[in-house]
């Protein structure tokens, strides 16, 4: 393929990206339709000293971190089990953990209304056992948001971790055991270091996804437990304050980029020259992030 024809092939794609992504995002930051760019920067500066917005930002980051850790704790053992299972069973287990990613987030989050709602499963169990007299307030809490997000993102964590774990030759672990290491020690010294790239990618994706998630905090947190995403929505479509909406947008994007750069650094120094290519970026990123 000549350079000229390769260049021509780029034209429609670059044009669409420029028109549908680069232009609107840059224009929003540099020239908002109402007010000026200095307005957005000024509002952002004001937000960084505003206790209300800061508490929401803090909650958002806290939810992101807890979600990341919880989905790692739930997902890693599954990924490890899949990587060690015989091919047929591994295929079924992998498909079962991928399937939820194909389902709308609204559907998956709705299920928590059935569990945590006023007449839901959990409140029925609690009042039925006589633990509480009245149906407790379970919805519209931070815990509800975390539960919903962990359910949403565990599959993504499983896929990322499995991407690395499936590259670990099980004979290495057996060799370590044969040379006298306990199974815990073999796991820690042999499996874990090789699994780290997948864990790092999975954790970054889940954190970024949880911090920017909208559906789950909207349905399970409501107006009582706002996150940056629901705050942005409020500014943009309820109070129609675009300057503030853009400022929150910048804030949210900065958090995600900062974490991306940070884990990119850590990952690079840990892995040396080896790139984390073995993690299935296409599918893991694809099905997961689009699903939020």
């Amino acid at each position: 393929m000549s350079r000229r024809s390769a260049g021509l092939l780029l034209v429609p794609g670059i044009a669409l990206l420029a028109f549908g992504f680069v232009f609107p995002v840059c224009a929003m930051l540099l020239a908002p339709p109402e007010g000026d760019a200095a307005g957005v920067a000024g509002r952002l500066g004001g937000m960084l000293t505003d206790g209300y917005v800061l508490s929401i930002a803090l909650r958002t980051v806290r939810i992101g971190l807890i979600t990341m850790l919880a989905s790692l704790l739930l997902g890693f053992p599954v990924a490890y089990a899949i990587s060690r299972a015989p091919a047929r069973r591994a295929g079924v287990l992998l498909a079962l953990s991928t399937f939820p990613l194909l389902l709308s987030t609204v559907v998956r989050t709705y299920s928590w209304l059935v569990i945590l709602g006023r007449n839901g499963l959990l409140s029925g169990v609690l009042t039925g056992l006589g633990i509480t007299a009245h149906p407790p307030q379970l919805l519209y809490t931070e815990t509800a948001i975390v539960l919903g997000l962990v359910q949403l993102f565990t599959p993504l964590m499983i896929l990322s971790c499995y991407g690395s774990l499936s590259q670990v030759d099980s004979r290495l672990e057996e060799a370590a055991r044969g040379l006298g290491a306990s199974s815990g020690r073999a796991f820690r010294l042999v499996v874990l270091p090789m699994a780290l790239p997948g864990v790092a990618v999975g954790s970054t994706l889940v954190f970024a996804g949880a911090v920017t998630a909208f559906t789950t905090p909207m349905l399970l947190g409501g107006t009582r437990q706002r996150t940056l995403a629901t705050l942005l929505y409020d500014y943009a479509s309820v109070s129609l304050d675009w300057t503030s909406a853009s400022a929150v947008a910048v804030f949210m994007t900065m958090i995600v980029l900062a974490v991306g750069v940070l884990t990119g650094r850590v990952g690079a120094s840990r892995l040396g020259a080896r790139r984390a290519r073995k993690v299935p970026p296409a599918t893991a990123g694809a099905a997961g992030e689009g699903a939020v």
Partner: protein
Amino acid sequence: MRRRPLLTALCALAYLFMLGPILLVVAVAFSGGDTIHFPPEGLSLKWFGKALSQHSFTSALGTSVLVATGATLLALLVGVPLALAVQRGRLPGRRVIEALCLSPIVVPELVVGLALYQQLMVGLRVTALGTLMIGHAVLLIPYAVRVTGASLAMADPMLEEAARGLGAGPVTAFFRVTLPVLAPGILSAGLLSFITSFNNVPLSLLLTGPGTTTLPVEMLHYVEFSFDPVVAAVSTLLLALTVAVAVVTERLIGFNKVFGR
């Protein structure tokens, strides 16, 4: 393999957590009561009837299918050439182009939605449907480029060169040799793109309005204001549809090849 009761228990817990709640939605969908109640009060199909007869849901479904189809085709139409140029073009600044193609993933979708609303819908007066399609296509380009790029990287470039050496023009070589080799990758990318677009909420949220709403956004707004189980019925129908797609995919190409790796 050695038996590991702890590992098995942890896995069972994880699968229960991921899949259990979804099954509860199915149970509520068959409820005879008027609110979300578990265990369901009585048994009936009335919520399915209501879901299928409610105009806001059926018209939103139409919009969703239209947007997902249009955006997927658009993303493939520009994404496959992008992948070809990046993988085979020996272009200067390849990494920069690749990074640009993947960049829509980095910015939160809600933020992209806000930007598209301000600049395209309000600024340039593009219709809601047009903006939705452009936005979704932009969101899907990274997947199209990555998935087809991955199958291009595995295909042997010598095949094309052999075709060219045997006298085929570049266009013939592409359609007779490269495209058939890429077909499974393009099919995977298309399926993944369609599902991603169909389920999207954050990008669509600010671009939808009265008259043009996608199904997930309509469901979300409905749940915000009323507590009857209609959305459980819609969810159950979507679940059934997704299972059907998964089964067909498994028969045709293999479920894990497309979605799981």
